[in-house]
Symmetry: C2
Subunit: 221 residues, 2 copies
């Protein structure tokens, strides 16, 4: 629940919906490149394939600085590069994952992150039967080493996949050691001081939207 939906600090504020759509264009263009490569693509074509409006695609692309040509559109490789640079995906950011349960394992194994410039370099857990294991090439380390490792490596992103009951405590430990952004998958809201970024993935919120839409759809019949 982002109260503030404009991402400020850049020359031009970037609305959050634009940031959410750019990766969708990116995934679409990469898939197109693999399946039916073409040199140029128009906003109208992207819009049609993604069930979107051409004018919105054009406005979104303007943020990245990509230059289209009249009649032909964008060069696909240039557009991909522009989105990559705009989203910072050309530079890899390193992150730690805290809580090596099933969801933690799933994120450790998620192949997509590499393409999006995110590299999870290790996971932390408190359970003795997990510590020392390697999952998808990432080591699981004891959680008591977490603050030290954050300080030593200067890593700024923490991915929190711990149970609700210890989420706040782990968040506090991360922030105390220098983490600046927490991607929170724990099913609980965490409190952080001003100036810290938290992004909460709330499955309950998504489910609420899905089930309300389904209820309305079924009621219409």
């Amino acid at each position: 629940m982002a109260k503030q939906s404009m991402i400020k600090g850049a020359s031009k504020p970037i609305p959050e919906p634009v940031l959410r759509r750019l990766p969708v264009y990116y995934q679409y263009l990469r898939k197109l490149n693999l399946e039916s490569p073409r040199e140029y693509i128009s906003c109208a074509k992207i819009a049609e394939d993604l069930n979107n409006l051409a004018i919105q695609v054009r406005k979104d692309m303007e943020f990245t600085g990509a230059q289209g040509r009249p009649k032909v559109g964008y060069r696909v490789t240039e557009l991909l590069k522009a989105i990559e640079i705009f989203l910072g995906w050309d530079n890899t950011t390193e992150a730690y994952l805290v809580g090596a349960g099933n969801l933690g394992f799933a994120l450790l194994g998620y192949q997509g992150f590499k393409d999006y410039g995110l590299n999870i370099i290790a996971a932390f857990d408190s359970s003795a039967d997990k510590i020392g294991r390697e999952v998808y090439g990432k080591k699981i380390l004891p959680v008591k080493k977490l603050p030290d490792m954050i300080r030593r490596t200067g890593i700024k992103i923490g991915i929190l996949t711990a149970p609700a009951s210890c989420a706040q405590e782990l968040a506090d430990a991360m922030l105390g050691a220098g983490i600046k952004a927490i991607w929170n998958f724990a099913p609980v809201k965490i409190s952080v001081p001003a100036g810290i970024i938290v992004q909460h993935e709330n499955l309950a919120s998504s489910l609420a939207v899905l089930s309300k839409r389904l209820a309305l759809l079924l009621a219409e019949r």
Copy 2:
């Protein structure tokens, strides 16, 4: 990427952001009930604790039909009940999960779904070493039985946690057998006919927002 952000069909259209906030209020009120129970709560208090605006909380609650009292606010138990009924969480909806990898396991084990009226009754996979196993009390069945099971049970929600490469094929199989809503966790966009609900959980989009905010935060210093 919901092009249409108003959920229509009800007497009053419900904006998607409202639907996304209601579960957050619900989780907050439940936690409050456990940790420091109180009979009444005001919008101002909720707003303060959740870093929101009181007027927004009040408007959101209006959708549920909950009745507050001047000066004291809402009775907590009534407010919880009103949100539950509004979101349909008082009736359990059954769902199938397709793709019993790590993410599938994580969702099968997610305790929260029960509170939100979602019951995953079985999982499907094609891998011989998974079929027949039980995960968190849910059976893993062979994916070739999926269409038959959907027809027999009349289940309307499918949770797709399969790899990108077979996501579309599995979605088609589900829809052909009568599924009306797909909660798509596969890292690829799927195509569905009109009248079918798809909710795509796109980790890349969330990551884009998080990393852009972090980049701006670090640049400010």
